[in-house]
Symmetry: C2
Subunit: 473 residues, 2 copies
Amino acid sequence: MADNLLYARLAEHLRRQIRRGQLRAGERLPSLRRLGRMQGVSVATAVEAYMQLEREGLIEARSRSGYYVRSSTMPLPTAGAMHRISRTPQAVRNPVLLGVLDVLAREDVLPLHAATPSPELLPCAALAATTTRVLRRNPDTALGYAPPQGIADLRKRIAWRYAQCGVDVDADEIIVTAGGMEAISLALRTVTQRGDVVVLETPTYYGLLQAVAALGLRVIEVPNLPGTGIDATRFAELLDRHVVRAAVLIPNFNNPMGSLTGDGDKRAIVAACAAHGVVLIEDDLYGELAYSGERPSPLRRFDEHGCVLTCGSFSKSLSPGLRVGWVLGANRTSDLLRAKCFSTVATATLPQLAVADYLSRHDFERALRRLRRALADNVQRCRDAIARHWPEDTRVSEPGGGLALWVELPQPIEGQALFDAALTHGIGTLPGHLFSSRGDYRHHLRLSCGLPWSTRIESALRELGALAGRQLR
Amino acid sequence: MADNLLYARLAEHLRRQIRRGQLRAGERLPSLRRLGRMQGVSVATAVEAYMQLEREGLIEARSRSGYYVRSSTMPLPTAGAMHRISRTPQAVRNPVLLGVLDVLAREDVLPLHAATPSPELLPCAALAATTTRVLRRNPDTALGYAPPQGIADLRKRIAWRYAQCGVDVDADEIIVTAGGMEAISLALRTVTQRGDVVVLETPTYYGLLQAVAALGLRVIEVPNLPGTGIDATRFAELLDRHVVRAAVLIPNFNNPMGSLTGDGDKRAIVAACAAHGVVLIEDDLYGELAYSGERPSPLRRFDEHGCVLTCGSFSKSLSPGLRVGWVLGANRTSDLLRAKCFSTVATATLPQLAVADYLSRHDFERALRRLRRALADNVQRCRDAIARHWPEDTRVSEPGGGLALWVELPQPIEGQALFDAALTHGIGTLPGHLFSSRGDYRHHLRLSCGLPWSTRIESALRELGALAGRQLR
């Protein structure tokens, strides 16, 4: 038989198995050598067959571990089914935002609600060793006040990390904060006044919505689209039409959607802000968590006018509990520093010394590679499990980085109802409407992929699927 | 010679020596037994002579160490020379507030500007040991997120400490914060809106003035008087006359003056707030630092209506750098908790675990006694040195607790000029006008007594006196 017929026949054989569910989403296909042996064809023919199925989107190669049956989950719609966008500046009106805290504090549930990496994925032993060493070497310094701006050695190391991705940052413009949220909160409080208009993405992190609501700011929204991220054209139009004071954006792996905004759009967004005198507060908490390993640029890289305030943190990459974040103050450093002084005075000293010591002695890049691989793997397995166990027509985000999966449930399943049902089964999730200024995304759910994969998670996802299915009836 | 003549003659002899400067301020007088031997009189006669001089205010008994020549510094005036009080609500207008940060961050000066206890006075070794133990026992917990409200065990221990001074606090209303300043800042942000009127003491801590200015609040002032503290009558009158939203007061050892407000006045202040629906934010950072060892009541003790939000911290008693404080949320706990979530999300975990472990294993009361004695001793020695080396007519506060001395310089010496001159000599101080909403207290200076006494401090105080003297010419 001619080679091209051989590979086509083999492809059809596999295609049928997949369609019948004999090969299931997320299942690993035999190696090329084994497939060749099993089917009595050459490795070259096996390669051709797999490549054909890959082109058809039925299977996918996963780095360093072979070919897998692709999830049959549908991607999120890029338009049409979009959430209503608030076109005129309005206050945040979303009462459910108030209730979320109880869940976040619960320790008796499987934490698929918390967008935080589990300790098993972080270099905890090295960090503990480094903390102990710092404390032994100089307990008086470690327990005394740090300067309000933060410890100089740590600030230099943060600046150096930006230099590695082509961003020129002066250590003197860095203010160390008690985590990334303090950085964003200080920036908002420094830049805005009650009644000012700010642009937020939709969907966006509920913490930003809460902060903006507490400050009495009004919001206009710019869509964040699956795959392409923030709609830069739309963003520029908004700035043309409204008097906007600031924007708070998550261009790198938006929380909850995991989308990445491209460099061209980033450049356009920064240019629009510079042209309109808008302060751009960048939430870059997930930039280090690109599954590809290629760290995307922060907006700051495209800023020539000092209009971007980039906020970062070690909470998602090293330790959530040490609460070490930072803001790049650009030409607002002294204003931000003043705000820091009457917010928390100075960031805790020991955590700062521990992170600086860790960065000087340990291979942070290696730890990051391990973390990224684990997250990419978890996201993949979660998507596979959803494809297998959740109702048909469930749509799932395809994040390029970060910790979250954004799930759109088929109507009439409500995110809040599924969230409630899951809680009674000991599973934490977050309902989609938390990520909206007006309580939309009623059919969405956010899941965290920060836990190492386990049968417990697999069965939780199976259970969630069953709970969702029950709501269809 | 009759006994009454003998003691009078002896008293006159000593009196003359003190007046001539042969016995100097702060100098220790011979023991009763030794004086009797030296002067050939009985111990009873020596007692009579010392008691006579004590009545005259020339000498004083110091607990467990005998009689000393009293500082000839004059106490602060209780009225008359008072700072102008702002009688109508006004914004904070004090540009110097902005410049103070540079000094606070400087590490190359003798830190008589920082109201923080030096590590030598704190149980650093025990805290370092307890921190290491916590980290070794469970690194994953210590490096992971704490609940936003704070670790339950720590909250229980804080509640228990309040119970010890007769205040009934539920651990569930305690929110652990990144130091006392975050507690106050959260309370202000939760309770007030731009343009609201708040009552502050005068003089008061510059951090409160900065926080109030940043929130765009208007201020009315109530005098804090040397010796008696907050003027409760005046406070009640203010609430009668103005629509006030909140008050931020430091009844226990006001910073900078160290004055203590009595229980009667505290009760009246709380009652006035309850009657007018005013939220009373209590800065109780120094309550544990009473030189007498008797912890004064927080305002909260007199609150029957949930109008007091008490803010506390371990920064002044255990470790400034761990940044562990708290707020008692009364019936506003959930509002405060929400504000905490979008301020710093949660307080760093390891510091919380370390403090809780320290409190469970070590004798905090003993460490506090040691700290209080050292501070009382330093304050005494600083006052003595000022009496000896500073211009005549320098007036000094007589704090009953805390870390600060408040010095009124004779005109025309300016606090700012002395502060500037001191900096060039490597001595940090703070100019008085920082403690005023309108830049008054131009002839005042605040000194910290948080460093253990040393010849370096003695010579710094001598140098400050010489610098002050030079400005008189």
